[in-house]
Amino acid sequence: MTLPARRTPALSASFAATAEAHLDDVYGYLVYLTRDRMLAEDLAAETFEKALRLWKRFDPRRGSARTWLCQIARTTALDWFRAEERRRRREEAVARPDVAETDMPEGLSPELEGALASLSAGEREVIALRILLELDGEEAARVLGIRPTAVSTRLSRALTKLEERMIVHV
């Protein structure tokens, strides 16, 4: 599917092309982060709304559009997590979703899906960035706001944990 013609010429043109090019990446990242495909869709839409507002500030010299969009997506997801936490506290019903209730991507084996779902969001997001989106260490570090060495460490721990969970599930 292609995007329709836009009303604001150059600005919207470049943004629409960027959005289309990186929609799957942003969506995939959010799916891994939230374990919820429906929620990921909503957050992806919100991400692109924010991105459109901030599009004038985007500077390609400071990082790729994909990295920039992932940063916005992360902020959007964190805002959602905070809001959700506050809501849970208000309701005094802290009910972390069970692994079984998760909605991970299709095509994964049940063992891998279960193991991924058992990881924390922080572990899943580093796997998403480095394995799924294949960002390099620098780009992933930019998204996460940490150093590239810390990204490597975090990824290594997440994969080890994932492997352990896979063995348990098997």
Binding site: T8, E20, A44, A45, R96, S109, I131, E163
Partner: protein, 350 residues
């Protein structure tokens, strides 16, 4: 971690649904809402612009403060010289030997003379009797040059129809050599003399003083005329045949006194005129390695001075504001660390 597992993750990459694509497409064609003012404010940009702006403001302030106010630089210089002359006249009057009455003196202290025209700013006024005194300190390279410069100074005075009053020459085998030369040159040629003398070495310092002798000379002339009239009157009375011997003797004594006074007054006037005809130049030559005073560029120096003051003020501000800025940075770092901790905790919980 097996590569097969990683490939499985890659191959099962989630793909956005057509509905999501439609939503994003609609978002993309919408005109972006204008950000609120606070959202558009970027402290990072301010941090980049602020130092440049501060430097520009300080430079502009310095330039504005250095602009001449209501006159040219020459006028300001003249005003400064006039102020200086007032002080100098008070100091010079008691030391005056030929002028008993008050006199006006101009004096210039010039630690950084203009090469080639060392006394261009102050010159004797033509048509008036003035005592012109100048002192110069010059540095020469070595003893050989000292000797040559001393001889040259004497030749300069003689070539200008002046003369050498005194010479003290000291050139030890080791150490610093020096010479003190006192010259008298016609006042009308003093500028030429100073220009030629200044070329004998590197000027270390210069002092020029001008004392006006016209008024004392006029006073002496008036006293001479009065005395001459008194003498004429006494002589007329002495020609009378009706004078008593005693009265004649008194008048003759007064006439003798008046004649002596007239002689003294004429001598004094002659001395004053002689003093004004020649200028005294004291030349100090040395081989000592003394750095000459830096040449001052008035306008640039003013700007430098203002910038130095601004720098000092800025330093004070930094000293005072520094702890607060540091505290602010620490608070900011603390808040950032706390926010990141909270994010990590949030991501671990989900």
């Amino acid at each position: 971690m097996s590569e097969q597992l990683l490939n499985e993750i890659r191959e099962a990459k989630p793909v956005a649904s057509p509905e999501l694509r439609e939503r994003v497409a609609l978002i993309a064609v919408e005109a972006p809402a204008r950000e609120p003012l606070l959202a558009r404010f970027q402290p990072r940009r301010l941090l980049l612009v602020a130092p440049v702006a501060v430097v520009l403001v300080l430079l502009a302030a310095g330039a504005i403060a250095n602009l001449p106010r209501g006159g040219t630089g020459d006028e300001e210089q003249a005003a400064v010289t006039a102020e200086s002359s007032a002080d100098q006249s008070v100091r010079s009057a008691p030391g005056s030997t030929t002028v008993p009455s008050e006199s006006s003196t101009r004096e210039s202290l010039s630690p950084a003379p203009i090469l080639g025209a060392p006394s261009g700013a102050i010159a004797p006024s033509p048509g008036r009797l003035q005592r012109f005194q100048a002192e110069m300190r010059l540095r020469v390279a070595d003893v050989e040059e000292l000797s040559a410069a001393t001889k040259s100074a004497m030749r300069i005075a003689q070539s200008l129809r002046g003369y050498v009053v005194s010479v003290q020459y000291d050139a030890p085998a080791e150490g610093v050599g020096g010479a003190q030369i006192v010259l008298r040159v016609p006042t009308a040629r003093v500028q030429t003399a100073l220009t030629q003398l200044s070329a004998l070495g590197t000027i270390l310092g210069q002092r020029i003083g001008i004392e006006d002798l016209q008024q004392p000379a006029d006073d002496l002339t008036a006293q001479i005329e009065t005395t001459q009239r008194e003498i004429a009157r006494l002589r007329a009375r002495l020609e009378s045949t009706t004078l008593a011997d005693e009265e004649r003797a008194v008048l003759q004594a007064r006439l003798a006194d008046a004649r002596r006074q007239l002689t003294d007054l004429r001598t004094a006037l002659s001395g004053t005129r002689a003093e004004a005809r020649h200028a005294t130049i004291q030349v100090g030559l040395t081989t000592e390695r003394i750095e000459p005073a830096p040449v001052q560029d008035g306008r640039l120096d003013g700007l430098k001075e203002i910038l130095a003051w601004e720098g000092t003020a800025l330093l004070y501000v930094l000293v005072i504001a520094g702890p607060f800025v540091l505290l602010g940075v620490l608070i900011w770092l603390g808040l950032r660390f706390r926010r990141r901790q909270a994010e990590t905790r949030l991501l671990e919980q989900n």
